[in-house]
Symmetry: C2
Subunit: 722 residues, 2 copies
Amino acid sequence: MVYAHCNFLINRYDVDMFIVIGPGHGAPAALANLYFEGSLQKYYPSYQSNLEGITKLIHNFSWPEGFPSHVNSQFPGSIHEGGELGYALAVSFGAVMDHPDLIVTCIVGHGEAETGPTATAWHSAKFIDPNESGAVLPILHLNGYKISSKTIYGSMSDQELFDLFTGYGYQVRFIENMDDIDSDMAVSMDWAYQQIRTIQKAARTGKPIFQPRWPLLIMKTPKGFSGIKTLNGQQIEGTWRAHQIPVQDPIHNESEFSAVKQWLESYKIHELIDPKTGVIHADLLKTVPHDRRRMGDNPKSMPEFVPLELPPITDYACARACFDKGGVAESITQTLGKYLSGVIKRNPHRFRIFSPDELTSNKIDAVLKVTNRNFQWDKETANKGGQVLEMLSEHTCEGWMQGYCLTGRFAMFPSYETFLGIVTTMMIQYSKFIKLASETKWRSDTPSINYIETSTLWRQEHNGYSHQDPMFINNLINMKSKLIHIYLPPDVNSSLCAVEACLNRKRGVNLIISTKKEMPLWFNMEHTRKHFAAGASVWKQYSTFDGLNPDVVIVGCGNETHVEAVAAVGLLKRDVPNLRVRFINVVDLMVLDIEAESGLTDDTFENLFTSDKPVIFNFHGYPSAVRSLLFGRNHIKRFKVLGYIEEGTTTTPFKMLTANKVSRFHVAIEALREGAKSNPQVALDAHLAIAQYEGHLKEHDRYIVEYGKDPEYLADIFPKSA
Amino acid sequence: MVYAHCNFLINRYDVDMFIVIGPGHGAPAALANLYFEGSLQKYYPSYQSNLEGITKLIHNFSWPEGFPSHVNSQFPGSIHEGGELGYALAVSFGAVMDHPDLIVTCIVGHGEAETGPTATAWHSAKFIDPNESGAVLPILHLNGYKISSKTIYGSMSDQELFDLFTGYGYQVRFIENMDDIDSDMAVSMDWAYQQIRTIQKAARTGKPIFQPRWPLLIMKTPKGFSGIKTLNGQQIEGTWRAHQIPVQDPIHNESEFSAVKQWLESYKIHELIDPKTGVIHADLLKTVPHDRRRMGDNPKSMPEFVPLELPPITDYACARACFDKGGVAESITQTLGKYLSGVIKRNPHRFRIFSPDELTSNKIDAVLKVTNRNFQWDKETANKGGQVLEMLSEHTCEGWMQGYCLTGRFAMFPSYETFLGIVTTMMIQYSKFIKLASETKWRSDTPSINYIETSTLWRQEHNGYSHQDPMFINNLINMKSKLIHIYLPPDVNSSLCAVEACLNRKRGVNLIISTKKEMPLWFNMEHTRKHFAAGASVWKQYSTFDGLNPDVVIVGCGNETHVEAVAAVGLLKRDVPNLRVRFINVVDLMVLDIEAESGLTDDTFENLFTSDKPVIFNFHGYPSAVRSLLFGRNHIKRFKVLGYIEEGTTTTPFKMLTANKVSRFHVAIEALREGAKSNPQVALDAHLAIAQYEGHLKEHDRYIVEYGKDPEYLADIFPKSA
């Protein structure tokens, strides 16, 4: 019914519109309409508009290899995975941003409305600038019941519903006249459309309304509307009994069969199609919008891939000197902020930043020099447009990004590392959507979604244990490996490489783990590019004996953990000069996984990590991530993976490293214990050095409570003048 | 200020109350009050009420090894990890359930209010039966700004706020008279208290109010209230500049120093304590509630552990016969439902079930025979009490469970497997809370929180790919291993063992992966108990040659994957009779992890899995989970881990298994490929069998589209009469 009324509106006003269907198991309605309007046939020619086609359509629904009962990327015109509830609304808002002519109709079920992500996504309207963006027309569908009891929204009075959504900032209108629901709906949809155009016209003629109140429709129909009314003396329509399977055994029970028959016949299918040929009557098809105005064929929901125009990263690269300039170091994210400013300038209305934190907090606020925060409820920022959206809801930001990117535009999601985990299942649902999209040949590529973790677990000296959680990595690596990329660039130049790679990549889920803190620079851009392209390489300058014929391999992966690994080599060079140490940095984590797009072959892997020497792998996140990626490589017991082991509190950066056993001393001790085995020459030196480092660690435990005496975190990095 | 007003209320009416502090970095206010009232000193004697103590208190705040800036389990009286925002409200509601006299004051910051979990947790009041439970007094604190811009709630008008929360079902009152904020607050708190008691009295005298409107306070104060007013001609108080560090360099800048001095002196500390001794003036202490009425020492927030009285699981155990009774098999969760009914009956008001799904959907609705759904907005269920809470918000259910369990009661959280992932970060924050609690010696044990995944990824033939996600396992295994337990019981008897173990365990995070589908029974309860206690054992009856001197080890772990592993042995016994196969079931996943509480020693591990034979591990979830747990064991390259590899769609259960390569044929082929290496006798048979199984798999691909022809999923399990 909603679909048909959208068509009516599209035809009447030539509206650029498509639909996002929130309710679970909502696919039958979508399929029927896609078939009716012919867009299903366009992409799936076997579902022809004849008896064979319609039979196949009915037979294959929720059938092995057929269409599922939830809308997904196999449905023409869909930009939303209809499985996990809660995200339809935020995704819809993301889709209309920077699409000034687009209206997305979003149906929110009252089950979905109970979820937290939906409950806060209603605020999204406050982030829509009516001049630069289109509009969402939300339709909250209430039918009272779930499987066996009332829903929350189904039990609220009209007054409560009206108050709630008025409070959210909407103009509310009910569709509830069951005597003539079609007229009620038509009038309401028209009203909503006019309200949208009024708000937009005001903004686009230089007389913007402050805090515009967008329309919202609440559709109240009985559960199982138009289905079986009563059965065996029990009411079905309008009760929870209408859920899923209202009739248990129509095959064997005659009265049940007759109820089903009567129900299905009530749709008068013989008046809609020719019963002999199955062809839809031509006059009915006049109600279908023309060609690409059909909601199953709207180009914005299935866009061609148009790349971003990226500024050269070399313009933003740092030389060694820039870290010493007047003693003011620059944080990695500060430089990224400048680069992203360049991206925004070159690609007006095609790139947005969605963040649950404030960009100021992530030190990428340089972008605010070239664009604005887009928050319409604040006089300071209203009606100015802008590519930066900040809302303290990871869920909403993620939904916005998904909607924005699936409609052909690009985005970046900066977040505290720990709180990115909040959207894990949304990322997974999205990965499922694009995995199937990539197997669906009529779907074009879409831009990747890109996360950047800025405030990482190792530097939470004021936030403590609750802000330490690298779990997002672990969840990403379970997705299809060709879709995902995880970069841990150790400095600003490699971070620039990573951002460039992510913004260029099609249809991916990319994660960059960086830091807003000041970090040393390791190489110039020319060398960095080579290293980044390889994903992992031997750093001769930071090895001993140029890394040849090593006794032990030390790997740095991350920011702080990389620095510690380098520093460990420095200690070893000084204290055990005959130990042969190869140093490797892993910047692209998936090189470890033999099955990944960037996965190293076993030969390359063993050229790099050797085939039999001990490897001390100092990792940014949970060791389990690296462990599972290494599984299947040869002789992996020689790998000692150090990483975050859930030890943390409010403490100094260095104590965080020692508590989790990833400090330079821990790395050096492990390297000596393992490396000395194959090089008896170093046994004596190793013994002394281990004693020395263990002493340092104990000493730390004593004086760590005083900040000032803590060894300067970045000091003594070896070699000083690489 | 809120704390002091709570104390006023507590004293006036002898209220049983404690506080949950939502705003991030809210710890200073808590610390100051805990110190003032003396409960800090009770648990941390070194923070004495003298000059030394107060100096230490100030010095150690947000200092290495000192108290963090967020409230956590180190704070007396706290039941909430104050890191990740969004959960304070739901946790508060969980705490008051079945505590009829308790009032929890919950401060929600306007940052937290932007999160989805908070946005839907406001509905929690609809699930509080005023007869059987206490009340939450929510105080929404608005001060307008975040780090550098307005918040959503800070930009809403009073009318919008009033409408919104009226819509949520509350009576709203503003606290905003800045001319006399204390009086305004006192009167408002008193009003709220009277409203609560009125609602409760009505319900407790047999005249319950339908849809009672609980009070909610909105406190509007300027950001940085009572701090620096202006500095260098710029307004600080009441603007975003008051965030975090309002003054940049008071050490070197004289006017900044003087502003800080003036600010701190305005609190007139010398009137509160004796400047010489640091002792708090006695007359001030008269405002402190007595003894355990102090909010930092409320026994309900730090309860003694009182175990549940559990019915004997043998009363619910199945004998083989029960699966054939009249041809009606019983699903595992149906039996668990009966057992949980027994738990509820024996432990009135001490055990609740929180679920985002309806129990009917999870087939544990037997409990509804002994208790009720507790949803006050529905006439059918209002004012009846009840231990079952169903709300389609995983976040809210999780928050309720945490609050309920941390205040000494027990709970179970049944969920679809896939959607449990939604609360991953909440589980992690909770794990962090109890990890620190276990290191805090004055904290007693609390009951575990318990999840049961009922509708698992392998049986989503009608829901499809979006409903397949076992990621919760992967995230659990990164938590401190002594806290967590993951059970994959393959039948009803072992599921009963698992539930019993979870309900008995203190201070843990437990996950049971079961199924609502009918499954075969493997052993009687006596044998099952032994197997469960071991965590993993050789199943001689399902091995060949009694599992002695095996050529290959096959491991089943899960439900469907276990059945397929058993069936694979059956195939091998029939087709390659000379192959020696040992069959193992792993019911406690953590036995694999040498560091876990239930982790096997290397000796036991190798006794079980052999030290060098190939092992085919057929796992329920992502292979990465098992891979990372096995890492560090000897010769792990011989382990072939099969599991869910993100291949799925709407299809038959068996096709799901073949698509992910965990079917009986895949297991058998892998076993033959690896096992035949060490037993050349079987080479010829193995060759033929592999060809046969590969043929079956191809055949499946052909005829799988017709349900009826799919091989009966549970058929041909070997041996038939174990």
